[in-house]
Symmetry: C2
Subunit: 329 residues, 2 copies
DNA sequence: AAGTAAAACTAAATCGTTTTAGTTTCCCTG
DNA sequence: CAGGGAAACTAAAACGATTTAGTTTTACTT
C-alpha cells in the first residue's frame, strides 16, 4: 500500500514560492499572471506530473467531467450496444471526460436513472438510446436544460443533439431489393411499435411497396426485440400455414437469425422460395447464411458522434446542436 | 435551466438547529449522538431527499465509490464483453457504486489506464479482463495493494479475486464429445497463446486426447481472436489440402462461425465429414448450424461476481479474496 | 518627484463532507 | 452540594480547487 501523495496546487505553490491561487490562474492561462510566471509554473507542473484533483474541481465548480451513457440492456440490442459503448469511449480518449454506464432494466422507471444524474449532478451530460416519439426523458432533459444527446430521434429532434440511422431509407431499400429479386409478398418484422425508428422503418417500407407495386405486411404479433424462440415459432407457423410470403425483412440481426431458423424449420430455403433482408451491427449474417441481404448500421460511428455532440453541448451550449443521420447504402 | 440547489448537511443542520458535524455523525449512526436526535435527523434527511455530495465525500475521504472496468476492446470479444458490462452494472444496482468503462486499445500500453486509475485515485477498485500469466497489471495492482478483481486467472491467482471459466475442463469436454462421435483427428483453434486461458484449454484438450487415444493438433497460424476472413481462409485451406481432420474445436463463437464458413467453402458439412465444438457467450450457434456442439460461458454471472468481489476488496480487505471457477457442464 | 494607473500577485472565502479535539449539559456519587 | 464522569453536542481544521476582492509593485505621466 505505497500510495505516494499526489502533487496538488499547494505543492507547486511551495516549489515556486507563489500563492496557490496564482498557480491556479497561471495554469489556466489567465492574463493577469505574468508571462514568465505562467511558463515557470507550467514547467514545474509538468515536471512533477501534476494532475488536477477531480473532487476538488467538482466540489468547487460543479463540473464532473463525466458523460453518462444510459442504455437499455435488452439482450437483443447488446451487440449494437457494445459497439456504441466502444465508440463513445473511443471518442473520450484524450479528453478530460470519463464515461459511466447505467443500464436500465425493463422492470424499472426509465426516468429514475436520468433524474438521478440530473439531480445529483452525477454527470455533465447524458447519452440515451431507445428513444420514444414523445420520450419523457427527452422532455425532462430539454426542460431542465441539461446537456444530452440521443441515439435515435424523438418528436422534438430539432431541439436536441442526436445520431440516427435512417430507418425510413432502410425500409425503402429493403423492399426495393426484394422487389428486384422478383418478390411480391413481403413481411416485415419491425422493432417495437412504440419506438420511433419502428415507425420510420414501416413508413419507408410501405411507401416503397406502393411504388414497386408489391404487397407488404407488418408482422403484428412479434417485434425484432422479442425473444428468439417466440420469433422462430411465429415465422415457422407463418410458413406452415402457407400464408403467401416470398420476402422477409428483419429489423435486427438477432431477429433475423431467429426468423431464418423458423422458416428453415418450415422447410424453406433462403434464395429459393424466399429472400431475406436484414439490418446488422456486426457483419456476420453473410456467414450465417450467405444468401441473406444485409445492411450495416454503424454503431461505432454513432458512439463517437454522440460523445462529441454531448461534449459540444456542455462546452458550447450557445452553438447549434450536432445532428447526424446515417443514410444507408 | 432550473436546477434547484440540492440539500446538504448544512440544510439539515439549519432545519434541525444542530451543527453540521452532528448531522453528519447522526446520519452515519455514530453512538455519541442521542438516539432521538439520530431519528429526527434521519427523518428530516429523508423528507427533503438528502443525498450526500460525492465530490465533498471524495475530497474528504478519498473514497470515490467508483468501480473501473478496464477491458480490451477487441471486436471478437465484444459479445462477451457486453454481457460482462451488463452483469457488472447489474450487481452495482442499489449500491453506492458507479461504473466507469475504460476500453484499452491494442495500440497502447495496457499499463497506462491502470496506472492512471491508481495514481489519480479515479476509482476504488479495478476490474480487468484478458489476463496474461504474468500480467504486469496484476503485478502492479498487487504491489500497490490496490483493490481489484480479474476475469481470468494470472499466475498469482491465489493472491487476488477472480472469476474464471474453467477452460481446462472445456478442452477436455470438447475432445471427449468429439471422440464420442467417433472423431479421431481433431484440430483446435485456441485463443492467443499468451493468454492464460489458452494454455488451460490446450492442456485440457491434450490430456483428454491422450486418454481417448485420438489425435489433437493446435492450429498454429491462427487464434480464435483473429479476424474472420483470416480464420475462414486458413480453415478452407486446411480442408482443401486434405489434411486428415474430422473434428474442430473453437475457442469462441466468432471464430467458430468463421471456421465453419471456411470448411463449408471447402465442401464439407458439419455432422457429416466433420464435427464442430465451440464456446459461446450468447446461445445462437444452435441457430447458426444446428449440428454444432456448443458450451455456454456465463459472462453475465462473471460480471456480477466480479463486481461483488471488487467491492468486498474495498470494504473488507482483511477477508480472504473471493474466487470462482465456472466449471462447464 | 509626486501622483496615478496598470500589472502582478495574494488573502480570504467557498464548495460539502468528516475527523479531531474540545465544550457543555446532566446525572450520579459520596 | 461539590466533584467526577459519561453523554451529547459543537468548533475548527482539513481535503483541493476557484473566485472575489484586495494589495503590492512597477512603470509611466506631468
Amino acid at each position: 500500500m505505497t500510495r505516494s501523495p499526489r502533487p496538488t496546487l499547494k505543492t507547486i505553490a511551495q516549489l515556486t514560492g507563489l500563492a496557490v491561487p496564482t498557480v491556479s490562474r497561471a495554469l489556466s492561462g489567465a492574463t493577469d499572471i505574468g508571462q514568465k510566471t505562467r511558463e515557470r509554473v507550467r514547467k514545474v507542473a509538468d515536471e512533477i506530473g501534476y494532475v488536477p484533483n477531480r473532487a476538488g474541481l467538482r466540489l468547487r465548480t460543479g463540473r464532473t467531467f463525466v458523460l453518462s451513457l444510459v442504455l437499455s440492456s435488452e439482450a437483443d440490442v447488446m451487440n449494437l450496444t457494445a459497439r456504441l459503448i466502444n465508440g463513445t469511449a473511443t471518442a473520450l480518449r484524450d479528453t478530460r471526460y470519463h464515461l459511466t454506464i447505467t443500464p436500465f432494466f425493463s422492470d424499472e422507471d426509465p426516468m429514475r436513472s436520468i433524474r438521478h444524474v440530473v439531480e445529483t449532478n452525477a454527470a455533465d451530460a447524458v447519452i440515451l438510446n431507445q428513444i420514444l416519439p414523445e420520450d419523457p426523458r427527452v422532455r425532462y432533459l430539454l426542460d431542465k436544460g441539461f446537456p444530452f444527446a440521443t441515439h435515435g430521434r424523438s418528436n422534438w429532434a430539432d431541439q436536441h443533439a442526436y445520431f440516427d440511422f435512417d430507418n425510413f431509407t432502410f425500409g425503402r431499400l429493403a423492399v426495393q431489393r426484394l422487389a428486384q429479386q422478383g418478390r411480391k409478398s413481403i413481411r416485415l418484422v419491425a422493432p417495437p411499435r412504440d419506438q420511433n425508428y419502428a415507425q420510420e422503418m414501416i413508413h419507408g417500407a410501405e411507401q416503397e411497396a406502393d411504388t414497386q407495386g408489391v404487397d407488404l405486411h407488418v408482422m403484428q404479433r412479434i417485434t425484432s426485440d422479442d425473444p428468439a424462440t417466440k420469433i422462430e415459432d411465429e415465422i415457422a407457423a407463418l410458413f406452415q400455414e402457407n400464408v403467401p410470403t416470398d420476402g422477409m425483412i428483419f429489423g435486427s440481426a438477432n431477429s433475423c437469425m431467429s426468423g431464418v431458423a423458423g422458416l428453415e424449420k418450415a422447410g424453406l430455403t433462403i434464395g429459393n422460395q424466399v429472400d431475406v433482408f436484414s439490418k446488422e451491427a456486426i457483419p456476420f449474417l453473410q456467414r450465417f447464411r450467405p444468401a441473406i441481404h444485409a445492411l450495416h448500421e454503424d454503431a461505432l460511428a454513432a458512439g463517437e458522434f454522440l460523445a462529441r455532440a454531448a461534449i459540444e453541448r456542455i462546452e458550447h451550449p450557445e452553438k447549434p446542436v450536432m445532428q447526424f443521420l446515417e443514410v444507408p447504402k
